[in-house]
């Protein structure tokens, strides 16, 4: 079993592919069915952001270990326009595109760890982790 998958994100159909591959990778780790849905939903949010704002990017899915803990790491990176105000982008309901503005803050609530680094003109990198309970 490979424990890392890279999914290129260029179109809406890649969003579906990323969430499906995330689920496939996470399933054998022992996540519950609702946790698998959380993971798939969080992947969907960050992948959708790549398509909408950057046009293209990559989702990296990796099985990780930390001591006794096992989990899944999801990294979404793009070389898009970046986010001018990351603090604001993490607020519920904030959006520059007329969307619901729930994607990033929602994904943070669904996951155990969430980190975002973005630079205007350079791109955005979101890292999320979910541990098996």
């Amino acid at each position: 079993m490979t424990d890392e998958v890279r999914v290129p994100i260029n179109a809406d159909s890649d969003v579906v592919s990323a969430r499906r591959q995330g689920r496939t990778l996470a399933e054998p780790l022992g996540f519950s069915s609702s946790e698998l849905t959380f993971i798939a939903t969080a992947i969907s949010e960050v992948a959708r952001n790549i398509v909408r704002y950057a046009g293209q990017g990559t989702i990296i899915l990796r099985c990780v270990r930390e001591g006794d803990k096992r989990g899944l790491l999801i990294v979404a990176c793009d070389h898009g326009p970046g986010i001018a105000d990351v603090v604001q982008a993490m607020q519920d309901g904030y959006s520059t595109s007329g969307s619901l503005g729930m994607g990033l803050p929602g994904a943070r609530r669904l996951m155990d760890a969430f980190d975002i680094v973005s630079e205007v003109g350079k791109g955005t990198r979101v890292s999320m982790r979910k541990w098996v309970r």
């Binding site: 069915s33 609702s34 698998l36 849905t37 959380f38 939903t41 969907s44 949010e45 959708r48 519920d92 969307s99 619901l100 729930m102 994607g103 803050p105 929602g106 994904a107 609530r109 669904l110």
Partner: protein, 69 residues
Amino acid sequence: MDSFASRTLRHIAYMTKLLGAQTVIVGIQPDIAFSMVQLGLTLEGIETALDLEEGLMCLARQGRYNRDR
């Protein structure tokens, strides 16, 4: 169901409402409902029901659907 899908669903419901029809969303799985709440997604102003049967009962109560038809 991510925020994009939820918004699309909401838009469809609002469009049908403008046409004078009523929308009831049915069949949301428990895991999906759980994750929608965590995400902070709401379907304000749109009725939901457990399954098709209950959805039709909802409409029947409002006189929008005649079960004997």
